[in-house]
């Protein structure tokens, strides 16, 4: 094998980190309406996510070591493929910029309030560019290390929060109408979870036998941990502050302390978010540059990495006026995302089934 590929374990890790990266966002828009029932809707949105993930798994299984661009090309023919790929690329370019903006906004508000946004974005994206320019194995190993750090810090915060846990905050359970819970879980499903389609862009680097199972493992693991975090936030800081705060996890950990000895644990959370964010942005950049390289018939995708990330950086400042705008827009964006993030994989899936007999699949 001359190609470097990601192993099954590394892919699970990347899926987890990819979804984790957005926990900054879901910390808020999930809680805005349904308060203490947010953890139920989070579970629901994971359940929604399972069929979608199975579809991804099916597609990858049908086209081993092909990414979404090649798959679209094989299934739809040249012209349609080009249109579809361009739409897909525009979408994930936009999405990637939102993610980048989100992270730099987080750093700006919580820690570096006098630093302008641009240097923060630049330093974030430079690391991502470096990561994506190195071989893909680097990302896999980096992911392993980041996940280890993440799990350790999360367990520290969970243990510390036991002393100030107020389980009363979670009552009354299921007080909101089922309708609103579904609505909220749909929003969460749309924004961070169905973003997983971006991972299809680097699917040609995957090396494993049972993609559906891998995806499921990643999803379930993330689901459990995110739900634990959400319950921690609810029980520690209470509903009203949770609804109003932009970065609930950060605020929850600010309260934690171990006597007078161990305080200011929130630094750990910042490390979590930034590291997971770097992994997420890196996946966006690789996926994007592969798409652009495919459109421009360039064989080496590493050459398009830099232009693509510059483009991403350029879009960032013009996306939102301020942080309130950012968080208000997040749920609306979920609706815009439906065609690319849900309908496109379903169409690909249907085409796969329809064209089964013709054996188009094993063309190179």
């Amino acid at each position: 094998m001359n190609k470097q590929l990601l192993t099954e374990k590394q892919i699970i890790v990347l899926i987890i980190l990819f979804l984790f990266g957005s926990s900054v966002v879901i910390g808020i828009d999930i809680n805005s309406e349904i308060g203490q029932d947010a953890w139920i809707s989070l579970i629901l949105s994971f359940v929604f996510n399972i069929p979608l993930v199975l579809i991804f798994g099916y597609i990858i299984n049908k086209f081993p070591q092909k990414n979404i661009y090649q798959i679209i090309d094989i299934l739809f023919g040249k012209l349609t493929a080009k249109i579809l790929i361009s739409l897909f690329l525009i979408h994930i370019l936009y999405l990637g910029s939102i993610v980048l903006r989100n992270f730099s906004e987080y750093v700006e508000i919580t820690t570096l309030s006098e630093t302008p946004l641009l240097p923060i974005m630049m330093s974030l994206i430079l690391i991502s560019v470096y990561l994506s320019k190195s071989k893909i194995k680097t990302l896999g190993i980096f992911g392993n290390i980041v996940l280890a750090i993440l799990l350790v810090t999360i367990s520290i915060t969970l243990i510390l929060s036991f002393s100030i846990f107020k389980f009363d905050n979670i009552k009354p359970i299921l007080n909101h109408s089922i309708n609103s819970i579904f609505k909220s879980s749909f929003k969460v499903f749309m924004l961070p979870f169905s973003e997983l389609i971006v991972m299809l862009g680097i699917a040609d680097l995957f090396d494993f036998k049972n993609p559906s199972k891998t995806y499921l493992k990643g999803i379930i693991f993330t689901g459990i941990i995110l739900d634990l975090i959400l319950i921690r936030n609810i029980t520690v800081i209470g509903i009203p502050l949770l609804k109003d705060s932009f970065f609930a996890s950060y605020q929850a950990t600010r309260i934690l302390q171990l006597g007078e000895f161990l305080t200011r644990v929130e630094g750990l959370i910042t490390i979590n978010f930034v590291l997971a964010g770097i992994v997420k942005i890196t996946i966006f950049i690789i996926s994007l540059s592969k798409g652009v390289a495919y459109l421009t018939k360039n064989k080496d995708y590493t050459k398009t990495i830099f232009p693509v990330s510059l483009l991403m950086l350029g879009i960032c400042p013009f996306l939102f006026d301020n942080v309130v705008d950012l968080f208000d827009f997040a749920p609306i964006f979920g609706i815009y995302a439906i065609p690319i993030q849900v309908i496109l994989p379903i169409i690909i899936f249907l085409f796969c089934i329809l064209k089964k007999e013709k054996k188009l699949i094993y063309l190179d």
Binding site: L112, T115, P119, I237, I239, R254
Partner: protein
């Protein structure tokens, strides 16, 4: 050649464009220990107790100084302090905010809470106390008994109070925010006043300041606060002194003290018909006998059961008294009856939600107290 120039350029860029915009050295900041907020002529007067690092000799405890500033809003006043101090105020280590009772009565404390929760520098575990004196500044001016920084003193007094004396309840600022945003709950804050101690004035907790919405409407004394906390299941320690008649031949009564070891209280919704809402309050207190005066007659098992009965009746009476006071004098739901209803009986809550404020005064709270003496200390 090309590589070398590139390398040099990268190094130059690294040195010029890195570094932290937010870098502040310890010598460049004025660390605030506590803030007292008063209002003078429609302007906020903020007094900060700052750690005075310059005039502290080596080997001595750090002394503090007071800096004052005025402004139309809190933040305005905070920034105006820069006119007097060479360095920027650093709030991340602030321990306490003292609010004068005039502001709490007239303006409400919403405007104060807002800046302190919004600013990322201020920590969520900050305590807010109400000054019972004429101004909040007076509390900062006195010397602490155990440390040279009076803000630290007040904070530890308030925080450790619930485990030892239970005369007041510490509420960190994030919980204040939650309570003020929650329509089902009402706020209470610790109350501090000055007392003379060895010819010198010192700070002392003096019960609880009771709020309706965000405005101060009254006080509970230290003794009343204890039974209020007992009812609210916030009590973790303290002494109950009761007047007992057992075992004395001349039937003179005397005082004994019971030390509270643990307590659990539950508020239960019972029934609602037409106009009467019935709520049951069950308290279960475990105590040890801490002080028993009668040397000649040693206490025996039977006396203990009698004492238990007397104590539980006493507690029941006191709680009923405090609840009446809260219902009639203050008419504010600091016990959180509505919140309890919402949490445990959401269906009933939906029915009663709109009527609750009208019903509140006439809610029938049935108190059921139980005291268990499980220990008499070293001696019989």
């Amino acid at each position: 050649m090309r590589k070398k120039t590139l390398l040099i350029i990268t190094f130059i860029i690294c040195f010029l464009s890195t570094g932290c915009w937010n870098y502040i050295g310890l010598n460049e900041m004025t660390v605030v220990a506590g803030v007292a907020i008063d209002k003078v002529n429609n302007e906020y007067l903020l007094s900060y107790e700052i750690y005075d690092l310059q005039s502290t000799p080596q080997g001595y405890p750090i002394v503090s100084q007071i800096v004052q500033s005025k402004g139309k809003t809190i933040f305005d006043a905070v920034r105006n302090a820069k006119k007097r101090v060479s360095n920027k105020m650093y709030f991340s280590d602030a321990r306490i905010i003292i609010v004068s009772n005039q502001i709490a009565k007239e303006d409400g404390i919403n405007s104060i809470i807002n800046w302190f929760t919004r600013d990322p520098e201020v920590r969520e575990t900050l305590q807010i106390v109400i000054s019972k004196e004429n101004s909040a500044l007076e509390l900062l001016k006195v010397n602490g008994l155990t440390s040279t920084i009076v803000s630290n003193d007040i904070k530890t007094i308030v925080e450790k109070d619930e485990k030892v004396t239970s005369s007041t309840e510490a509420v960190p600022i994030y919980q204040i925010y939650n309570i003020l945003s929650n329509k089902n709950m009402s706020l209470t804050l610790p109350l501090i006043h000055l007392v003379k101690n060895n010819d010198q004035y010192v700070c002392e907790t003096n019960g609880i300041a009771v709020f309706k919405n965000d405005k101060l409407i009254g006080y509970l004394s230290s003794e009343e606060s204890k039974y209020y906390l007992l009812a609210k299941n916030k009590l973790k320690g303290g002494i109950i002194t009761i007047n007992t008649k057992i075992k004395t031949a001349d039937k003179n009564s005397f005082n004994i003290s019971l030390e509270i070891k643990s307590n659990s209280s539950k508020i239960k919704y019972v029934s609602f018909d037409q106009k009467n809402l019935k709520i049951k309050l069950i308290t279960n207190t475990e105590v040890t006998l801490g002080e028993y005066k009668d040397q000649n007659n040693k206490i025996n098992d039977k006396d203990l059961t009698k004492l238990e009965k007397e104590a539980s009746q006493y507690i029941k009476k006191q709680i009923e008294k405090v609840i009446k006071k809260i219902q009639y004098d203050f008419n504010t739901d600091i016990l959180g009856l509505k919140e309890v209803l919402y949490k445990n009986n959401p269906k009933q809550y939906k029915k009663l939600n709109n009527k609750f404020d009208k019903l509140y005064k006439n809610i029938d709270v049935e108190v059921d107290s139980k005291v268990e003496i499980f220990n008499t200390g070293f001696t019989r």
